[in-house]
Amino acid sequence: MTYIAKPKLHHPTLACNAVGYTRRDYEGKVSTLCAGCGHDSISAAIIQACWELDIEPHRVAKLSGIGCSSKTPDYFLGQSHGFNTVHGRMPSVLTGANLANRSLLYLGVSGDGDSASIGLGQFAHVMRRGVDMTYIVENNGVYGLTKGQFSATADPGSVSKKGVTNTDSPLDMIGMALMLGASFVARGFSGDKRQLVPLIKAAIAHRGAAFIDVISPCVAFNNHAGSTKSYEYVREHNEAVNRLDIMPPRAEITIDYADGDTVEVEQHDGSILRLHKLHADYDAHDRVGAMNYLQAHQAKGEVVTGLLYVDPQARDLHAHLDTVDAPFNTLGERELCPGAAVLEKINGGLR
């Protein structure tokens, strides 16, 4: 980490986006994580994605649980409200926040300890409900803040820094998200920003439960030989199924890939996801196919990355509950209180 804050002064040549903000307006406090931590790269990717998407920072609500990853919302989008909740319970708080004001963008940041162990139940149910959000798990296979215990996503045979071999089966967050009904499922690698930024942008543009599992090596406790979540291991075993571009609504679409290798998906907001297939047989619209593909390739020790599944017709929790368009937190007595005359009638029916 660094303890020297960057000067607030913006360089005059710094580019502004369509809503008049520079990239630096999307930054937060100085990170307190270890130098080289994968999580800081993810924060940088979030900053880049939000800037490129022309999102006004204050329209984002960022929520997290407890752990190294869950500290990171303090390090990006400093103009956004943030909520560092309790361990493993961010999904429920995000759900409630989303119900209270459907007009904001919700970003949930969690880790493998937070989401795969203590928070597994809430992870499962927030996906089932289709809460409109971008849920990022910064997955390093290890408990960093408590100094190096295995997490539930650690692969069997993986060796800890202290030399202990993991024997438990790993939880596959991607497989679970697919099974549980998440309508956007992707995996990225903190060491590949070119892949990660478009994935985050596409997830934010998605209306529904969007989940990104980001393999994010822990330089302090899980980046050694014998680890399957190290920079070296992931680089060697990374199997990207596609490359993704995301284009704003009505943007001119120029094709620079050969026909047949490219799939375009229109999102709710009109933006276009353009998937450049790296594996000819991979179909990102096929939930069951995605699960099979992942299982087969994971069995070979490969780390499958890319946009693995997207349902552009997804419906979110507000659609399921058929709620009004106005955010609940803007409704007052006039909309909510039935009044004394109605109560008199109710009283009359109770005699």
Binding site: E56, P57, H58, R59, A61, L63, P73, D74, G78, Q79, S80, H81, G82, F83, N84, T85, V86, R89, P91, S92, V93, T95, G96, A97, N98, L99, A100, N101, S103, L104, G121, Q122, A124, H125, R129, L317, H318, L321, D322, T323, V324, D325, P327, F328, N329, L331, G332, E333, L336, C337, P338, G339, A340, V342, L343, E344, I346, N347, L350, R351
Partner: protein, 611 residues
């Protein structure tokens, strides 16, 4: 043994089999007496089962308006062979047993000191109906008809109720009325007269008949709750279900048909409270409803909401604890668990309603207080008021009332440069200002966390920052004392050294006990506390009496503990009167315990003052 003779003052108990359709027939019985202007106080007594096991419905008919449980049974309607022996044993000497005499029972199954009224209900049903389900369901209506004849209940009142019940299913109206008359006619022709009876009176007035869970749900609708997150648990489930029912009627946008509410049945109580915390943080009024085991699970979040200062409304419909305890029985045993919920030093606001009327009022108050104080507020009801219909004052709402949204800083204030310190006491009441997400593009954002921080919400582990915050939270709690419902004093007709403090569902039993003690020459001042933290009136009441009984429905005297803690009072001055067997407390119990104590003191000469 002389048969009991009583008009408008007796207890009928129905012993039924769960799932036999008896509940609606029994309610019909109770309501028909209400329609005759005679107050009733019914109670469901049910074990934790769904079908085939015993369930009871006890109706106290009380022209005097004693709505607490009396204890004892004058007329047992014994419809369940499984519980026969215990049911027969429970009848008061001189009481009555009504039973299905289709199959003969040996004399040993009866008692000599009661009057036995047999009616061949099964035989009548089998002779009238072919369908087995109809035989079962109409048997219930037939016994209601027979009881109407025995007790002189107005048949027209019952018919009117049946007509209201089947307004939307007119096909069912005629067969039900037929069954009612079948029972009535048989009883009139064949059964002997009994000494109990109902006589039309004018003692009900404008009061309404509603259960506390429905009333609290309606209070949440009126109080502006838009988010309800809950997990099914007896005895609170019917509250969330009632909220759903009322919202479907009262909270749909007439133009779009869309809902101005969201109800989520969460995966557990932890997720329920988490959603409420998230909604409260984001400026919507939200509540959860649960019982003791749910409160235990919610503790971590309650601590977060207290420390991070987020409005949260929790409704605890208390049942017998600890652990699964007595899930279908009543207690007031979550007071300490709620008042001091979470690890670390915490204090929470509790509201203590006495009946459905206050459940409604306090539910709306809780939503206001949670916003005003930016903290968890607990509405503490219990199974006795939550799940039983109770006669109470009509629900009241003043259209001039405005929701108190508390200190929420606006975009205009931020734009004007108003200083925003999320955890700063600027008004001297301990309550800081907050902002909602997305209020202003560049001002007023902050990071909410359960870790310590300074007055401007910046992470801090400095001792002075932590202590400033904890002291401010205490000051805020002190501010709450002036905002919560005040205790209600009921003074005896003459000065007395004896006082009693009580709360919640103990209320009707207490009122009756005061009269009983008065009749025995014991005068008692009482104070009904309606909230924690306690206003000074509680301390003053204790100071004004030599001895104060604290009457509550738990083993450990939890209200007493809170009072001792709040005012540093000598515990010896507060005498616990504790009832905690799972049944609602009775006037007989309270008057007995207090009367015995006062009399013993007199005999021993230790008490120099006349009571």
């Amino acid at each position: 043994m002389k048969p009991i003779e009583a008009v408008n003052d007796f207890v009928v108990k129905f012993a039924n089999v769960n799932g036999s359709g008896s509940a609606s027939a029994n309610e019909l019985f109770a309501k028909s007496i209400l329609r005759m202007g005679v107050p009733v106080s019914p109670r469901n007594i049910f074990p934790s089962n769904i079908q085939g096991l015993p369930t009871w419905y006890e109706v106290r008919v009380t022209e005097a308006g004693h709505l607490g449980r009396r204890g004892g049974v004058d007329l047992m309607v014994a419809m369940n062979p499984q519980t026969w022996d215990a049911d027969v044993a429970e009848i008061e000497p001189g009481g009555y047993l009504f039973y299905d005499s289709t199959r003969p029972l040996p004399a040993s199954k009866f008692r000599a000191d009661i009057s036995v009224i047999g009616m061949p209900l099964t035989e009548i049903c089998n002779g009238t109906y072919d369908d087995p389900r109809q035989r079962q369901l109409f048997k219930n209506i037939i016994y209601v008809g027979a009881l109407a004849a025995l007790l002189h209940i107005d048949l027209a009142a019952i018919e009117a109720l049946i007509a209201e019940q089947y307004k939307s299913k007119p096909k069912l109206l005629a067969p039900n009325v037929h069954a009612l008359h079948l029972g009535h006619d048989y009883a009139t022709r064949n059964l002997p007269a009994i000494g109990l009876g109902v006589r039309a009176a004018d003692a009900v007035g404008g009061r309404i008949f509603i259960d506390g869970n429905s009333a609290a749900a309606l209070g949440c609708v009126y109080g502006g709750a838009t988010v309800c997150a809950w997990y099914p648990i007896t005895p609170s489930s019917s509250l969330a279900e009632a909220f759903q029912k009322y919202c479907q009627k009262l909270r749909v946008d007439p133009d779009t048909g869309k809902n101005r509410y969201a109800i989520v049945q969460a995966e557990d109580e932890i997720a329920s409270i988490g959603m409420v915390v998230g909604a409260g943080w984001n400026g919507a009024r939200a509540f959860t409803t649960t019982s003791g085991p749910g409160i235990s699970l919610m503790n971590e979040f309650i601590g977060l909401a207290y420390f991070a200062e987020i409005p949260v409304t929790l409704i605890d419909v208390q049942r017998g604890g600890p652990s699964t305890g007595m899930p279908t029985r009543t207690q007031q045993s979550d007071l300490l668990a709620c008042a001091w919920a979470s690890h670390g030093d915490t204090r929470h606001v509790l509201l203590l309603p006495e009946d459905p009327h206050e459940c409604f009022e306090f539910a709306a108050t809780a939503l206001d207080l949670a916003d005003r104080l930016q903290t968890p507020v607990f509405l503490m009801t219990d199974l006795d008021i939550g799940m039983n219909q109770r006669l109470c004052a009509p629900l009241k709402w003043d259209d001039a009332r405005r929701y108190d949204r508390g200190k929420v800083m606006t975009a205009e204030e931020l734009e004007a440069g108003k200083d925003f310190g999320r955890y700063k006491d600027v008004d001297g009441d301990g309550i800081p200002w907050r902002t909602l997400p997305a209020t202003h593009p560049t001002r007023g954002s902050y990071f909410t966390r359960g870790t310590s921080r300074d007055a401007y919400a910046r992470y801090s582990e400095r001792g002075p920052d932590y202590v400033y915050n904890m002291q401010r939270l205490l000051k805020k709690f002190d501010t709450a004392r002036s905002l919560v419902p005040a205790p209600i004093l009921r003074a005896a007709p003459r000065p007395t050294p004896h006082g009693a403090i009580f709360f919640g569902s103990t209320s009707p039993a207490m009122a009756e006990a005061i009269d009983a003690l008065q009749a025995d020459g014991i005068a008692l001042d009482t104070l009904r506390v309606r909230a924690y933290p306690f206003p000074d009136a509680v301390r003053d009441f204790i100071a004004a009496h030599e001895r104060v009984f604290v009457v509550e429905q738990n083993r450990d005297g939890q209200l007493r503990t809170l009072i001792v803690d709040a005012f540093g009072i000598d515990p010896a001055k507060l005498l616990p009167v504790l009832h905690y067997d799972g049944t609602p407390i009775t006037a007989r119990f309270i008057a007995g315990a207090i009367g015995k104590h006062v009399t013993q003191k007199r005999v021993a000469g230790a008490d120099s003052c006349a009571a």
